[in-house]
Symmetry: D2
Subunit: 358 residues, 4 copies
């Protein structure tokens, strides 16, 4: 269990490094008969790609998926789905200078300590490029979930110190996709762009946060006591490179509240049981209650910056360096689809796990 497999029944195993030949994945446990909509999968991948905005890396990858197995005449067969994304635009020479140093807040030092060696080219396995494979698998999960009525939507609610007001209203999808930063408030979006330009000019980087809402979830998903639904969501989110925090429902703010205010009262609403508020974020006792599942994820600033920084080299002597390779000023907008699709993997897995019980 070296950590490259996710899920119990809908299982994704991934491999590949930033500057190796290819990244790839195997999905084991996808139910048979699912129509694999290639356009949708490619669109999801495109949402993750850098597309020329000034705050994005200049590395240009087409991110074309090649499906190798588990699909016949466009439908899943129930056997494992193997797939590849070839690396095309690699410049390993950009990284030769990094071979001999441990970059601050990167994974260079910890990988070296763990494995005794490391692939220094573009972060190797620790590169965010690895998330492209998660996006493909999550897109397939989304296709299945959609059929059962489950929908997942994420957006940027903060970049640096610019933050949207949090309310329970779910934004219009169009307002998200039409923002280059995946932020539904277009006013804020503009100010965020100015911020990013300024940060870029300074040779710096900046973090941010993403909010996601999962709607249409039936009551009953989640496996107490250790595999509570929010626990698996938290793990999935914190497994994304750069993620530093997770909160569900009212989260950290809810810990300030009194029970009489916080508690979500049940009411009958037509045919459906619902709660008047949703401070619990749609999960109670680790099991979905049929309300929207809503959570936030915090991301640290990109570790690579243009500014000069101090660090040590492999001989553990002090050195100075500044980031030269292609990198993002702020990767948070590109992480929205990763957050969504990691959620899809978790939901899909719990849907199958719950089904086995009945």
């Amino acid at each position: 269990m070296a950590g490259n497999t996710k899920g119990v029944l809908f299982r994704l195993t991934t491999f590949g490094e930033s500057h190796g030949l290819a990244l790839g994945g195997v999905i084991d446990g996808c139910p048979p008969g699912l129509q694999l909509d290639g356009d949708f999968i490619q669109k999801e991948l495109n949402r993750r790609k850098a597309t020329g905005f000034p705050w994005e890396t200049e590395r240009k990858e087409k991110d074309e998926v090649e499906f190798l197995s588990g699909v016949l005449k466009g439908k899943t067969t129930g056997t494992p789905i193997g797939f590849l994304i070839r690396n095309k635009d690699t410049k390993p020479e950009d990284y030769s200078a990094l071979k001999s140093i441990y970059r601050p807040s990167h994974a260079d030092y910890s990988y070296k300590k763990k494995y005794g060696l490391r692939d220094h080219r573009g972060g190797g396995r620790a590169s965010a490029r690895e998330t492209s494979i998660r996006v493909v698998a999550g897109a397939i999960a989304k296709l299945y979930l959609k059929r059962t009525g489950i929908d997942i939507m994420g957006w940027v609610y903060r970049i640096g110190d610019l933050q949207m007001k949090q309310d329970e209203k779910i934004p219009d999808p169009e307002s998200i996709s039409s923002s280059p930063l995946n932020c539904p408030s277009h006013d804020l979006s503009k100010r965020m762009i100015s911020l990013l330009e300024k940060v870029k000019a300074e040779g710096d980087s900046v973090g941010g946060a993403i909010r996601a809402v999962i709607s249409g979830v039936p009551a009953g998903l989640g496996e107490p006591v250790f595999d509570k639904l929010e626990a698996d969501l938290a793990k999935a989110m914190l497994s994304i490179g750069g993620a530093r925090g997770f909160e569900i429902g009212s989260g950290f703010e809810g810990s300030n509240m009194k029970g009489s205010y916080y508690n979500d009262a049940f009411v009958k609403n037509g045919e459906k049981v619902r709660t008047l508020t949703n401070h619990d974020g749609g999960i109670q006792g680790g099991i979905s209650n049929g309300m929207n599942i809503a959570f936030n994820v915090a991301f640290k600033p990109a570790a690579t910056i243009g500014k000069k920084q101090k660090t040590i080299n492999l001989e553990e002597q002090p050195v100075e360096f500044s980031g030269k390779g292609r990198h993002d000023i702020c990767y948070v907008p590109r992480a929205v689809v990763v957050v969504e699709n990691m959620s899809a993997l978790v939901l899909m897995d719990h849907l199958l796990r719950n089904r086995a019980m009945h």
Copy 2:
């Protein structure tokens, strides 16, 4: 994989309900030859027990562990350690009124929807009483970790809106254990007690938050990409009843920072490599870097309150009710040892997983 087992190599499986005959656990994968210090284990359990403070439940359980296997002459044998805690002070009749309603922000409704039936007596499996088993297993992990130099310490840093200033200083252990609320700031502790008394008088409840620091962790623990160390910590924390948020290092606040400020510069300090700051919270790329691992966990207010609340009954008709059973006004101080010992389970598991690689 119905969710009652935790860990890959150091595995805890738990069972038991709040008002059943007993709760219990099985630890599989504990290395042989570990001296099981019964006093220490009991002390850890005592830290979780209600001990007569006015904000605590009146249920009094001795929480005595009976070890049934895996131990010979006080030492672990490498075979599974089975153990029990009998429930003694049960009052199932207190809960008969609850049989027919779904309490707000409890697990009543979601359990019913998942399983088709539920044990209504004291929350059944969803009761926080289940965490006593986690404390026993975590205490055993702590005994092992201590031998390798790893130490874990948690404390309450917020109750309601009363919050300690966050800094990197680790409090004196004595300052924590001498506070009835496990809060190292005794000034704040006093104000928190006043708050709790007020909340109790109102028939209400209140949440809070816990900070934990793990010291002495060698570089190299954690299994990218899905089983990153912070991902497994997040999952462990969110699996505790009532937990609603997790952040590591600078967490949500760090997402406001710029890279030049956030990045943790490596320096050589005598023989040891360390970082000047620790915004990453001791984990980079999912792997420990040898610095302290520091994180926060947010807890929602206790769901049971004395105040009258609206909800629905099993026939989904509106009803009013108020909590009568024995319950905590604020369970956060009692959760400190749970946070610590869940961390111990995670660290222990990753210690063994990492060892297998080399």
Copy 3:
């Protein structure tokens, strides 16, 4: 993953030693709403018990199960089922002589080498007494399987060199249970008893073999390529102490056959598809095909014998010794229910795994 948990979705974790306080188990993943028929479970346990036959151990254990959780008003709740069997008739002093030697063909030496220490009392964890827990869990699986029409029946077809003719006819259950050796051929049964008396008089032991047939299995169970149904059955059988061989369908003999003779031709039989022969034993490509699943398991002779044997002591010096503790001359008749109930665990697990897919 220290090996004391079995199953993916219907999971049994066991603990306990032969001369410890108790043995026990936790079943996680049992569907809710199953009526736990205590009489049936006890009857299954009784089938495993020594009941005074001269070829059986003199140790007398009542094997009473105490269910601690996961059951409410006689029905499973979907939460983990914890249960215990206390050891009552222990005589650890019988084994003090064994403390210092490695008995031939026992687990003494290999346990010592693995764990650095061992529980010498009655074989500790390696004792066949451990299988009582498997019988309880398997009995619960049987109760569930029975509702879906799946039935499992095993019998002794060989003791020493006395062997029943193998044919495809399934014996009458009554013919099995009325034989003290669980052998449906009563003629052979008598000759086997004479053999056992002779072997006992010689201070020796003898092995044997068991055949099991699972009927009513729907087509579709089994998870290629590694978790083929016969692969999981083989593992389950070889995990029983003393098991040395497994063959499904025509097994070793089938490897002599030509394809034209061996191949099982499909025919339509009324509404049902079946095969004219069943050399494949009901499993093709790792997946059940709806025919009876039939297999054999070989068991070595009991390792403890009265005759004097040579071996070495803990100092690795040669010694002589002869078995004194209470032991079976032939444990194979008592293993029939273990074979059946381990099969039940495998079938149950695959039933749930298959269900998740659809």
Copy 4:
């Protein structure tokens, strides 16, 4: 857990169908720093390939492996090793006739029943071609095991009714590799070839059996009670297509023996503890004891034969057909390397699992 992953710590996940674009695998948990000897891996693959013998399929595949990740400068990095074998010599049109029928003793019917659809081209996922990926992964495990002194050797000991005498002598490796049937007795090898020619002329097929010996295994590998070493070997063997039986040590024959004859007496032999006989096959109580691990695997005759057979079509009406595609008369000689390399996967996994404990 849909069955396409093997192992706990050294984990192989495979994908791919006989007539799809490619087969592939991901090894997760390979220790870093292992020199990947490409020549050795290719040689192992060549041992599985059909190479023009008249009893082999006429399909010619180069079986060239492309390593995509986890390797830097020829050494493993500790990150997952992804690899591919492209299918080149596919003739899906050969199988169009099979689209509408269920072939006897193939996986056609059971796959259809499980998944609702199937890939009829060359057996799809159920094809023996899938084992090429196991050979690659097992070859990597062998490279690692070799460094620790563990060696695995298999050979054909039976084809049809022609069988070698079983003794404890391990054959000379050269005598195996120089036989076109991997049978160390060259006299028998010749008679086997005559048999195969005759069987081919008849349009029939024939089964056989393989013996394997693992030497150099340290005492201590294996995880009782469910993951006993022989249990995991049995599962690995029965997961190979066509395998129908497994026996370890004296196996089925040992079940005829008396304890006084069977028991393996310990002796000190120079510095090393060994046993005088090895009826237990090197494993006691589920844990290796340092002696050679020896076992047999039985294989059924190839299901595809030229002779006319009766079966049913998808409409479940009776039809006749005869095998036309390219197929083996006897695949057992080609399965020797699969048996060896599946053993390597099991040993490697247990080596790492055992290491974690200490």
